[in-house]
Amino acid sequence: MGNKQTIFTDEQLDAYQDCTFFTRKEILRLHSRYHELAPHLVPMDYTNDPDCKLPLALIVNMPELNENPFRNRIVESFSEDGMGNLSFNEFVDMFSVLSEMAPRELKAIYAFKIYDFNVDNYLCKEDLVKTLNRLTKEELTPEEVVLVCEKAIEEADLDGDNKLSYADFENMITRAPDFLSTFHIRI
């Protein structure tokens, strides 16, 4: 039923529906959004899985991401090369994880990656300072920043190494009541 579309084969749409939290209609809509970003680069026919990646700069200009202080980190976390170039698969994956229906554990994993600026699998003090500065656009005084980061690490650090491993982060985020409602982008 529905319109005859030639962008994806039926198997591809089924696979997408199984691998993301989107329905067929939403996936087609996502494809048109992806196409809009660079109409001359993105082919309309995805039946043979073309290898097309859009650069970070284009994706970060989307209205949903434009005002987000972590937009670069978000796109980098979902790109395979770590530089922010997203193929359509990764594009869909990104919005699927950030959608309302993704479970908390999945979101926690990617949130950890996003906040880990120096990609060392730990949220150390520098990561936290960077996060805080991005959030407040450096309007807190340096002493306040240091104080807040120290308090945050104090609250969440379980194994006493003065930085947050993924286990610490996950334990903390399951008890953060706002996480599910704020960590989502509607597209």
Partner: protein
């Protein structure tokens, strides 16, 4: 590039190494939850059997393969979309699962495919239901502009619209519909007997003769005149029984049962909606536990797309962080207080609380007097001036609204002197305002009751003052109707005549007064109290005015658009942010308080006050409640004994005891769980320290053995292990054996 780093390859090329940690079972299990690195395309198709290639070959292969099996089966059970892998891997896994399915028996295949189809069907249905939701687009826009705190207010409004609509549908289908369709399905309506006694005299209130236009408006706004004898009010429902072709419909019983039903239904729906928030609130055992972490990692609304909103969100986050730091400081200050200071503070608090109680008493007394005055004026038949008339009719509403306007300002001014911590200040002021709002309705009803049951100096002939109030339920319905209408008029008038000019003044006039005033803030708590107040009136008034829910539905419908326009154009969000998670719970708690308050007058009047003899469905009964025992006595013997047993004292007492036992058990269970959580958390800390200690010792030991035997060359590690324990271990520590040729190497 070696295959199995957990996160990205480090672009700085830093070699950090502690392969010992890679071998730890806890690290291995984390691998299954991580996305793999860039070399995905080179890997073999099944990405599930990955183990760290740090040479688990010789070291407990057996355990590892067993664990691999267990984890394999675990990942197999979870739907693919919940696994944290790249899209390419997920699709590969998907095709693999489908291929594997083909090898299974046909029964299993069927099972898997039905599960898949059901899941897809469920997603489609969810999406379709979501698209049906009222105001989806508007709420999306509001969310993008103002974040989730204000969004919760608007979704609360939407919830109330749906609730009122369903209450109206209940009332309509069980009370009004039978009366309306009776003539068309040849039903025979028997009306209440007019015994001709003194109590059943009901003078008609419709105006006769030449009616001036403005009197119609007075009637419309006050529910009197031509509106009094309509479906709008209780008094019109005089039908006793409706005889259809093969059954009899007992209207008084239906009326009573629908009242109980809608109160019960509201309770269940609100409790169900607040269950999630309540669970979350229980988990947060401390007040401000993790508030810093929560703000840093979960503080930014990723939905915000509007530039202004971003600026506001940033400033509110700043404000929150600064408030938290301030609160830490104040906590310290409170702990440092001397005894003398504490006495002084307590004395000040006592005086101020007495002052607050005095103010509240004053307000309640003025509401009481206003109600009595208004009732007396309405009784006087001479009605001359149109405007004065209306003002006297609406006097209780005006006094209540004034009191509810002044008291919050007073409370927020007083709280500054009471020297509480900021979080407690907000909550305490809010509690006082809630108390004020909801109790004012109670005072109004109390003053009405005192008028209705007072008959001069002797006891009332009919149980109520039949001279002044031949149909007292309709009169109460009219008061509730007036309150509702006035509430709506005030909200509309404040938006148009106060907020809009304020915004114009602030925008165009540059004087200091305008700057001090500032633009109107959209204060969520006050707005929520407003609509909870309206909803409480609706719950109380539905028994006396069955069409009131419909009026309230339309009222909230229009309030949505008024508030939305006001928010977009006139207001800026409050600098004091309201967290979405706690706000949902707060709204529903206040609504529950309103519901509890609404049940009291309704149950009191149903059970205690004699129903009017002149109008309404309960003419043949002393009190409205009596219809239920009468019906029960006409039931067959078996059901009757069962119902009597259920309502006997023995059953009630034992039910109460059992409920108490269950409650104590659950409370004990919750306490035990909390203790276990604390113990586990301590254990985690201790284990972490143990781990680091042991690793240090091991490294020391290996260093010593390396020094002792300088000839043995340890193989250099390929730069693929990127753990960040490099800070602690500045020399590479290598295992004593070479990496095995495991199949994970390409």
């Amino acid at each position: 590039m070696e295959v199995d780093s957990v996160f990205y390859t480090d672009h700085s090329g830093r070699i950090s190494s502690n392969p010992l940690l890679d071998q730890l079972p806890s690290y291995q299990s984390l691998l299954y939850r991580r996305k793999s690195s860039t070399a995905g395309t080179k890997r073999r198709s099944s990405s599930r059997g990955r183990i760290g290639s740090s040479g688990s070959g010789k070291w407990g292969v057996g355990t590892i393969s067993r664990r691999e099996e267990k984890q394999k089966s675990q990942t197999e059970e979870r739907p693919i979309r919940e696994l944290p892998r790249t899209m390419a891997e997920k699709r590969r896994d998907n095709t693999q699962r489908l291929e594997e399915d083909r090898e299974l028996s046909s029964l299993k295949q069927l099972e898997h495919s039905t599960r898949r189809h059901l899941r897809r069907l469920r997603d489609d249905v969810h999406q379709w239901l979501g698209s049906l939701k009222l105001w989806r687009g508007d709420i999306h826009v509001i969310e993008g502009m103002f974040g989730t705190g204000i969004l919760s207010y608007f979704s609360f409004l939407r919830f109330l619209v749906m609730l009122n609509l369903i209450i109206f549908v209940l009332m309509f289908s069980f009370v009004m519909l039978p009366i309306i369709i009776a003539p068309s399905v040849s039903g025979n309506i028997t009306y209440n007997l007019n015994l001709g006694s003194e109590c059943s005299a009901y003078p008609s209130s419709t105006r006769r003769g030449l009616v001036i236009f403005h009197q119609h408006i007075t009637d419309l706004l006050s529910g009197g005149g031509f509106l009094e004898q309509t479906y709008l009010f209780y008094g019109y429902y005089r039908a006793d029984k409706i005889h259809f072709s093969n059954s009899t419909y007992n209207l008084p019983l239906a009326y009573l049962l629908v009242t109980i039903a809608y109160l019960f239904f509201s309770l269940i729906w609100i409790v169900k909606r607040s269950a999630a928030g309540f669970k979350r609130n229980l988990v947060q055992d401390e007040d401000r536990f993790q508030s810093f972490c929560n703000k840093i990692f979960a503080g930014w609304d990723f939905c915000i797309t509007n530039e202004n909103a971003v600026r506001l969100k940033r400033s509110s986050l700043l404000y929150e962080l600064r408030t938290d730091l301030e609160e830490e400081r104040i906590k310290q200050k409170i702990a440092d207080r001397t005894r003398k200071e504490r006495c002084r503070i307590y004395l000040i608090r006592l005086i101020l609380n007495l002052f607050v109680i005095g103010v509240l008493m004053g307000c309640f007394y003025s509401i009481y007097r206003a109600t009595i005055f208004s009732q007396e004026v309405q009784m006087a038949t001479k009605k001359d001036n149109f405007i004065m008339d209306l003002i006297c009719e609406y006097l209780p509403s005006i006094v209540i609204t004034l009191a509810n306007f002044i008291t919050p300002l007073l409370f927020s001014a007083i709280i500054n002197y009471e020297d509480y911590s900021p979080a407690f200040e907000i909550r305490f002021t809010l509690m006082r305002c809630v108390f004020m709002r909801l109790t004012s309705i109670g005072v109004l009803l109390f003053s009405l009751w005192s008028q209705i049951t007072k008959c001069g100096n002797e006891p009332c002939l009919c149980g109520y003052n039949h001279v002044l109030y031949p149909c007292w339920e309709t009169r109460i319905g009219q008061e509730m109707y007036k309150l509702t209408i006035f509430d709506f008029i005030i909200i509309f008038a404040v938006t148009v005549f106060v907020e809009f000019p304020r915004k114009l003044i602030v925008q165009h006039c540059d004087c200091g007064l305008a700057k001090w005033f500032g633009q109107q803030e959209f204060a969520i708590p006050q707005n929520v109290l407003e609509i909870v107040y309206g909803q409480t009136i609706c719950w109380i008034g539905t028994f006396y005015s069955p069409m009131l829910p419909a009026i309230c539905t339309m009222k909230y419908f229009f309030i949505f658009y008024i508030k939305k326009v006001s928010l977009m154009n006139n207001c800026r969000p409050a600098t004091r942010p309201f967290r979405a998670s706690s706000s949902n719970f707060f709204f529903l708690v206040v609504l529950l308080i309103g519901l509890a308050l609404a049940c009291l007058p309704v149950s009191f009047s149903v059970a205690q006050i004699n129903s009017s003899q002149a109008c309404g469905p309960f003419v043949n009964y002393t009190t409205s409640w009596e219809v239920l025992p009468n019906t029960v006595s006409e039931l067959p013997h078996g059901i009757k004994t069962l119902l009597f047993a259920l309502s006997s004292e023995a059953f009630a007492v034992s039910f109460f005891v059992v409920t108490c036992l269950i409650m104590f058990y659950v409370i004990a269970l919750a306490g035990a769980h909390k203790r276990v959580i604390n113990q586990l958390r301590e254990q985690l800390v201790v284990e972490g320290r143990d781990k680091r200690f042991l690793i240090q010792k091991l490294c020391q030991a290996q260093r010593l053995s390396a020094i002792k035997s300088p000839g043995s060359k340890s193989q250099p590690r390929s730069p693929s292990y990127h753990t960040s324990f490099s800070n602690n271990f500045n020399e590479s520590v290598f295992l004593a054996h070479s990496p095995p040729d495991s199949s994970t190497h390409v």
